[in-house]
Amino acid sequence: MARAVTTQRKTLNTIIAWVIGLVIFFPILWIIILSFKSEGDAIRPPLEVLTSSWTFDSYAVVQERSDYFKHFVNSVTLSVGSTLLGLIIAVPAAWAMAFVPSKSTRNILMWMLSTKMLPAVGVLYPIYLLFIRLGLLDSRIGLVVVLMLINLPIIIWMLYTYFKEIPGEILEAARMDGATLREEILYVLTPMAIPGMASTVLLNIILAWNEAFWTLNLTAAKAAPLTAFIASYSSPEGLFYAKLSAASTMAIAPILIMGWFSQKQLVRGLTFGAVK
């Protein structure tokens, strides 16, 4: 029997959903609007902001004053690098936990997740000191490792959930069909896990791209990604909203576009296992 949901009710739900969506998106929308205003207009009351004239000035200034491309390359290197490095460690780890679980598998998984609850600042000193000693301060290598480590629990968890969904009987069938462990992983498991691995990669690139605590604290000029690029516009001489907004828009644009095109994959990845 179909549920009795009236058209009226559906319309109402749609409106509520749109309102919530807009509220969530509003700060980003406002940043984008402000980035096309002059500094003077940007600090006026909201209605006057909307009616004032539009300009590309802020973008021009930001371009002139700092090297966007260098920060962009750093962001790409850090997010892609840390994700790939994470996969290399997480795939075997998740495989082992999903298919050859031991008594402590559950505990290890929970422990890994619990590290995400530790305030990052709590380990800032030790890591900062380590970075100084090892000469890793303001290096991309060092940050790739740190970003990989903070996201590793999420990568392992996501892959673990994905692998868990693959029925054990299919792997047993492969074994009965004469496949060696290598062939079983190569021809049966990996192709079946590719959608899951793709969403894991996407989500982790986004997380690493947006990460600001470590990237701000452990970099200066050489390895600074786009988060540092944004931060450089919140200067002690006062906030310049228009320029800050222009910098922010430039920093989030690539990941926003990537997210837009891969949203189907992302949603599927995040809800996988919840809905059969």
Partner: protein
């Protein structure tokens, strides 16, 4: 060749012994069915033969060769799973060819064998489809195709028909039986459905709690059950088991009589009773009769035309030559 021998094979999961040491020989070309209630260890036994579980003790011999330490891939056995376990990302053709590809056969030989198997199983039109685009019956046929292409020493079936609807199940049952007649390869078939066991098997192995209760042909088991468990498990509807005074008259702790071996009459007979629920199958009618001989209602089989109303009085007469007698331990008395 496909003779399989189990010598004192046992299996424990931690401290729990699911299969105490048992011996069993399956001859080459035999169709053997492992049957028993859920949790009786029949699937575990099959997995021990397949090598998907390690034995805790004893030896598995395939064609006289000790296979206990051999990995599943090298045992030369093929298995059909309850869930079909097809590779969802591969076409039907690739699914069936997979074992051949793993065996390193060249492409032409692979194609030849896949085509042959597809013809046998009526899958020719579906070779380029993915498993997700097939019905349950077709998927099961693909799983069987994947098993037959490699010409294994024996086929292992783990409840292959449980996921199919009733009508399809009867059809597939026949197909598998026919396949066995044609290939003459050893088949070991696990099911909890005693009808499947009776209709398909050359030899039935009845299991309960990991212990073999009886091994024999379907009719042997039906006509001469070794104990009350087998008596009650094999046959549908179940054999009527009667304890107490009525059994004592026959010098037994329990007597058993099958529904078709009880005469029913409205005028005269040994036991007087009242008719409860009747089940009309068309060809037969089963009456559940409450009578003084037993606290439990007795099931009686009569012709399809016979009609007795609920609560009416009847007389039942067991045919003495078909009476089964069991002792206090439930073992058959001769």
């Amino acid at each position: 060749m496909g003779q399989i021998q189990l010598n004192q094979v046992s299996k424990s999961f931690g401290p729990v012994e699911v299969i105490p040491p048992l011996d069993l020989t399956i001859e080459d070309g035999e169709f053997v069915v492992f049957v028993g209630p859920s949790g009786c260890g029949k699937s575990t036994l099959l997995r021990l033969i397949a090598g998907l579980e390690d034995v805790s003790g004893g030896h598995v011999l395939i064609d006289g060769r000790d296979a206990t330490e051999i990995v599943p891939a090298k045992r030369g056995l093929a298995m059909v799973f309850q869930s079909y376990a097809l590779y969802p990302h591969m076409s039907v053709r690739k699914n069936i060819a997979f074992p051949l590809r793993m065996a390193g056969l060249d492409k032409a030989e692979q194609d030849k064998r896949v085509t042959q198997a597809a013809e046998v199983l009526n899958l020719t039109d579906y070779l380029e489809r993915r498993p997700g685009q097939l019905s349950g019956g077709q998927r099961q046929r693909v799983a069987i195709g994947r098993a037959i292409v490699r010409e294994p020493a024996a086929f292992l079936f783990d409840e292959p028909l449980s996921n199919l609807d009733a009508a399809l199940r009867v059809g597939m049952r026949l197909e598998i039986s026919e396949l066995h007649k044609r290939l003459k390869t050893t088949m070991i078939y696990v099911t909890h459905d005693q009808v499947e066991a009776m209709t398909m098997a050359d030899k039935i192995v009845v299991l309960q709690a990991g212990v073999i209760e009886q091994v024999g042909s379907p009719l042997e088991l039906y006509q001469r059950p070794r104990n009350t468990f087998v008596a009650g498990f094999i046959g549908s509807p179940k054999m009527n088991l009667i304890r107490g005074a009525e059994a004592a008259k026959h010098d037994a702790d329990t007597i058993g009589i099958r529904p078709e071996h009880i005469g029913i009459s409205s005028t005269e007979g040994t036991w007087k009773g009242t008719v409860g629920v009747s089940e009309h199958l068309g060809s037969d009618t089963f009456f559940h009769v409450q009578c003084n001989a037993s606290p439990e209602p007795l099931t009686v089989r009569a012709t399809g035309e016979m009609a007795l109303s609920y609560g009416s009085e009847v007389y039942l007469t067991p045919r003495q030559e078909h009476l089964h007698r069991f002792d206090a331990k439930g073992l058959r008395l001769e």
